[in-house]
Symmetry: C2
Subunit: 477 residues, 2 copies
Amino acid sequence: MAQEKKLVEEITSMEADFAQWYTDVVKKAELIEYSSVKGCMIIRPYGYALWENIQRQLDADFKDTGVENVYMPLFIPESLLQKEKDHVEGFAPEVAWVTHGGDEKLQDRLCVRPTSETLFCDFYSNIIQSYRDLPKLYNQWCSVVRWEKTTRPFLRSTEFLWQEGHTAHATEEEANERTIQMLNVYADFCENVLAIPMIKGKKSDKEKFAGAEATYTIEAMMHDGKALQSGTSHDFGDGFAKAFDIQYTDKNNQLQYVHQTSWGMSTRIIGAIIMVHGDNSGLVLPPRIAPIQAMIIPIAQNKEGVLDKAYEIKNKLKDFKVRVDDSEKTPGWKFSEQEMRGIPIRIEIGPKDIEKNQAVVVRRDTREKIFVSLDEIEIKVEEILENMQFDMLSRAKAHRDSHTYSAKNMEEFEQIINNKPGFIKAMWCMDQDCEKEIKDRTGATSRCMPFEQEHIDDNCVCCNKPAKTMAYWGKAY
Amino acid sequence: MAQEKKLVEEITSMEADFAQWYTDVVKKAELIEYSSVKGCMIIRPYGYALWENIQRQLDADFKDTGVENVYMPLFIPESLLQKEKDHVEGFAPEVAWVTHGGDEKLQDRLCVRPTSETLFCDFYSNIIQSYRDLPKLYNQWCSVVRWEKTTRPFLRSTEFLWQEGHTAHATEEEANERTIQMLNVYADFCENVLAIPMIKGKKSDKEKFAGAEATYTIEAMMHDGKALQSGTSHDFGDGFAKAFDIQYTDKNNQLQYVHQTSWGMSTRIIGAIIMVHGDNSGLVLPPRIAPIQAMIIPIAQNKEGVLDKAYEIKNKLKDFKVRVDDSEKTPGWKFSEQEMRGIPIRIEIGPKDIEKNQAVVVRRDTREKIFVSLDEIEIKVEEILENMQFDMLSRAKAHRDSHTYSAKNMEEFEQIINNKPGFIKAMWCMDQDCEKEIKDRTGATSRCMPFEQEHIDDNCVCCNKPAKTMAYWGKAY
C-alpha cells in the first residue's frame, strides 16, 4: 500500500501546476525518459507505440489520397539551404551544423535538416520535366532538428519525429486544393481518432511558414485553455520553384513553373492528447489510438479459476488490444497503473463475478462501473469503447466552447485574457502593427483566421479601423 | 519504338560490367536518385516501398519475440561515445561532428549516431535497477551516419536506414541465446521472404564489431560471386555494462552487471535483393517482398471490352498487389518497364484472349508464358507466385553451391580466387597473422566461421599449423 500511494502522490494536480502535472504524466506513464543529450528525449515503448498507431493511421490516410513515401538525406549543404531567401532567414538561426566528417573539415558545412523543402526542391528540379511527371505527391517520416533554447517533452524538443509531405503541381489551383485537402486529413484524423476538435484556419503573415505564400493550421485548446498548433499545411505558390528552377513543359510545349505545397504533423500531437484528455490520475487515451484498449485485472487471482477466466475473457476479446495484468502486485496498485497509463477500460474479474457470470468494466474517463454479463462481453466492450471515444470528443468540444470568448475592444480583450484561460474571437484589420500590439499588451498571439468566420463587430479590436477578418487569439504552447 | 529500345539499351550487361549493371538498375528501376549531399542517396517511392515491406515483416518477427520499439536521440555527446574504449576507436574516425547549434559553439561536440550502443547503455543505466526490470528488449528504426570515402547506393552510403536492436539480460546465457535467436530471425526472413540463402556463422576477432565479445553474421553470395554481409548480431557480454555501470540487484539482493546484445539489418539488404536475383532486363523481385506482384497489361486496349476485362481481373485478384497499366504507352514499352522494375508476373489480356476466356501470365524470372483460364485465375496466380518464390530460392542456392570451392593450401586458394568468382572453404588456425596474409595475397577476407562446420583438412590453409576451424573466405562488398 505504501507503493500504491506513492504512484498517485507523485503526480502534481493539474489545478496546482499544469506544467508540472504534464511533466509528471509523461514521466510516470513512461512515455519518455530524458537523455544525456540536451533537449533530446528518449521515446519509451509506450510512447512509441502511440506514435506507431498515429503513423499507421495517418499514413493510410495519406496513401488514400495518392501520396507515396520516400526518404531524403538527413543533411542539407549550406549552399542549398540559402537558395530561398525567406526560408534560410527563418531556419538558419536554429539549425545544428556539421563541420567535420571524421577528422576532415568540410568545405561546405552541412546542417541537420530542420525541414526538407530545399532537398525536395533540388530533387524535383532533377525529376520533373514534363506535365506528365505531375503531380508529385511525396511524403517522408523522419526526425528533424531545431536548436531550441527551452525544451519540453513532445511540445518542443531539439529533435522531434514527424512526417513532412511535399507536393508539386501543374497549377496554382491544384496546389491550393492539395493544401486544404491535407489540412482536412489532419483535422479529420484528430477529431475521429484522437477525439480532439480542431479549429481550421489560415495563419497571419507574421505566423506563416518561412517561404510560404499561405500557411493553414489546425488549432486545439488544451485543458488549461492554451492553444496548441497541431498541424500545418503550406501553399508555396511558385516561390520555391523559381528559386530552385523547377520547370516543366506543358501540353503546348511551354515552360512553366510548378506550384508546391508542404504539410506536417509531429510527435507534438502526443502532447495534445495528454493535455486535452488527461486528468489528475494520469493519461486518458482515446480508444482508437490507445496501444492497450483494455486491461483485465484479476481480483484474488490466486483463487482457483480466476486467472483462467481472465484469459478466457482475453480470448473472447481478440478483436481488441487487451492484456491481462497477472503480475504479483495488488489489484489497487494495478488499478493505479492502468489509470496512469490511460488505458481506456479495465475489466475486473474475481470469484464473486465468476459466480454471477459477469465482469466489472470501468471506464477510465468517467470511472463509471458497468456490470457486464460474460455472455455478451464482446459486444458490450465494443459499445463502451465507442461511447467513450464519442464522449471524449464531446467533452473536449464542450470544454473548448465554454472557454471561447468574444471581445470587441482591447478593454474586453484584456479583461478576458487576464481572468479567463481560453480563446478570444476578435475582429482584426490584418495589420501586423495591431497583431504586435495585442501580443505585447496581452501575451496572446493570433492563432488563425478561421474558415468559419463570425461577425463580432465592424472594426478591428485593436485600432478600431474597419476589420477585414475575424481571428482567434490566445496564449499558445 | 525508339523509346522502347532506349529503356533496354541503357542497361549495361552484368557480364560486361557488373558494377555498372548494378548502378544502371538502381537508377532505371527508380529505386534511388543521387542527391546534392555527398554520399547520401534519395530513396524513391519504389525503393522505399520495398523498404516498407521489409520493415513491416521484420518488425512483426521482432515483436513476436517480445521486442518493443523505442526512439533514441540522433546525437551522441563526444564524452558519452568515449566511455567504451574499443567502441570509440572503431567509430570515431568515421563520424560526422556537430560543432555549432545556430550561432553558438558547443562545449561538448555531438556526433551524429553511427550506431546507438552508447545511448542505449546510458538509458539502461537509468532504468534498470532490479532483476524484475530484465530483460529489456528494445529496437529502433532510424537512420545512421558513417563518413564513407567511396559510396554506392544501398551498399555503402554516408547515411543509411536500418534497425538496431539492443537488449539487456540478467545472465550471459540469456544474452547469448538472444544473439543467436535474432541471427536466426534474419536468416529465416532472408530465405523465406527474400529468397536469399544465408550462411550463418561467427566473425573472426578482426572482423567483429567494435566493443563486442562475439559477432555473428549472415553472409550471402551475389551473382558476381562476391559476399555481402547481410545482417549481424553481437554478444557484448558485460563489457558495455561495466563501462556504463549498468547493474541490477538479483534475487539474493546482490549487485550484478547486465549482459547485452545488439543486432542490425539495413537498407543494404536491398542491394542483396538486386544482386542475387537481377538479370540483364533489370530487377527481379521475390513475390513475397514485391511492392507490386502483378502488372496487368491490356493488349489493344482501345478495343471495346479490353480495359473492362483488365479491371475485372484486377478485382478478382484483390488478395494480391496488382495494378493495371492503362497508360498510353505501347504494350512492348510496358513489358520493358514491368521487367525493369522486377514485377514478378505480368498478365497480358487482349481481344483474342477474351474470346478464349483466358489470359497470358508471364513469369519475370523464367519468362515462361502460362495460359490461364479466367475462371481459375486467382488460384493460378497464387500458384505461379508461390512457384516463383520457391524457384528463386532454389536458383540462388544452386548458384551459391556451384560457386563454392575448397582449398587445402595457398596454391589452391590463389588458383581459385584468381580464376573463379565465389566462396572458398578453407581450414584456419585462427591466428590473425594468417588472416592478414590471406587478405594481402588474395584480397579475400574471412567471411565467417560457419555454424555448419566441415572438415576440409587438418591444417591451416595458410601456415599449415593445426587448424581450429573451417572458415568461408571471399571477396566482399
